[in-house]
Symmetry: C2
Subunit: 254 residues, 2 copies
């Protein structure tokens, strides 16, 4: 069996749902839970502890091993490929997987040594665009379009269930990365930050209200490219070159 | 889209679980809910009504259309093929489907005009053997063998999810029934009852404690045969002939 994806709960509201998500993870032999800024203070008080443990129904070992984060960016920093679960269509260009197709993709990546993760948004609102854009792809569960509201633990269960089923299937062919390796989310994020700073300094963002949409659009596009660590370094070089301008280099002599 | 299976909840204990099962059904575009002797008196009192409706999260239309039954036998009487969800292996010979394979089977049966149903047992104990034997096949969800406890609504969700996914797939070839049609559960049950009575009268059950296991074993075997209505009538004739003994028929003259 390959390593399963890390399950990342973003701003979960109810401890019961965290407990039930842990139980669903145990059902599917998934082990690694990360929680970004839950509503209730962590470590939990006694009453909350009782409620979460009741909902986990014996999957406490997953809760005990869970790691807490302040921000989504930190929770995914070490991952190579991140999926965002989202029910609705957002206005960005995105790869959209079914849970079944995503499961095969996760398996292929695990076999290639990549570490994957799946983000789940808060109960009522789901993931916001600023978090979805941090992912490389979306997962949308194909269900009754007239009634799509799935609870948090059920979405975790369906993703985990498909991952578990996919362990017996052969994934499609995967990308070969040559001498490099796929970049981590942290490497991507460093690059975006730098790009944004440079664009800011260059006066690229003429109207402030356009800025989030433009940033997200650049980010989403680069995310889909699935760059290697080497390619990101190359891009850093590109930005440096562009910022510093012509310098009587070999090229300017030509 | 083909007609989905009827969802049959056998002795559900908590109204919240019935509500969540209805929500999972709505997610998967399943419409017909049958409830056999729930723990709480039905129609529900005001407090229970609030709890079930909260859990259903908008799927009240499924609860409103739900039908109540005193016995499993009545709840499945009109169905042609019934699946029993069960996590553990029981001591009967049984066809065991994964939810995915069952979904294709359901679709094929629906296309052939059969009405199917899936039974789900009470929360803690699951279905008892006496109820499992009424089904033609079992559904077992392949999940982490070290942590198989799924809650009721989650099991409904996984079965419904696979049924919904199967709508885009072509089912394998199905049985052709000639001029007859598949028997209903009621026709099977009438036959078992009669067979048991005749065996009783004939002194077949030498030890009373052996009786349940023997009856179940006969029932399970006949269930797997997937008889037509015509074949069941033939069997009734067989029993009559055996019971009434030789009657100077053509055969005895031979």
């Amino acid at each position: 069996m390959t390593d399963g994806p890390v399950i990342i709960l973003v701003h979960p509201q109810l401890v019961e749902n965290i407990g039930m998500a842990a139980r669903a993870m145990a059902n599917c032999a998934l082990a690694e839970l990360r929680i970004v800024k839950p509503r209730d203070p962590w470590p939990l008080g006694e009453a909350h502890q009782r409620r979460i443990s009741g909902a986990a129904s014996g999957a406490d070992y997953i809760l005990d091993g869970a790691r807490l984060y302040e921000k989504v960016e930190e929770a995914i920093a070490d991952l190579n490929y991140v999926y965002a679960t989202a029910a609705r269509t957002h206005d960005m260009v995105n790869k959209i997987f079914t849970p079944r197709a995503a499961a095969l993709d996760m398996k292929a990546r695990a076999l290639a040594g990549q570490k994957t993760g799946v983000m789940f948004g808060p109960e009522r609102t789901g993931l916001v665009n600023d978090h979805i854009v941090l992912a490389n792809a979306k997962i949308t569960v194909p269900l009754n379009p007239a009634f799509t509201s799935l609870n948090l633990a059920q979405t975790v269960l369906l993703v985990g269930y498909e991952w578990y089923q996919a362990q017996n299937e052969t994934p499609p062919l995967q990308t070969h990365y040559g001498d490099s390796r796929p970049a981590t989310c942290e490497e991507y994020l460093n690059f975006y930050r730098r790009l944004e700073e440079e664009l800011e300094a260059a006066g690229f963002f003429v109207a402030d209200h356009m800025r989030p949409a433009m940033t997200r659009s650049l980010q989403s596009m680069l995310q889909r490219a699935e760059m290697t660590e080497q390619e990101i370094r190359t891009w850093h070089g590109v930005i440096s070159a562009l910022v510093n301008g012509p310098k009587r280099s070999d090229k300017s002599k030509a």
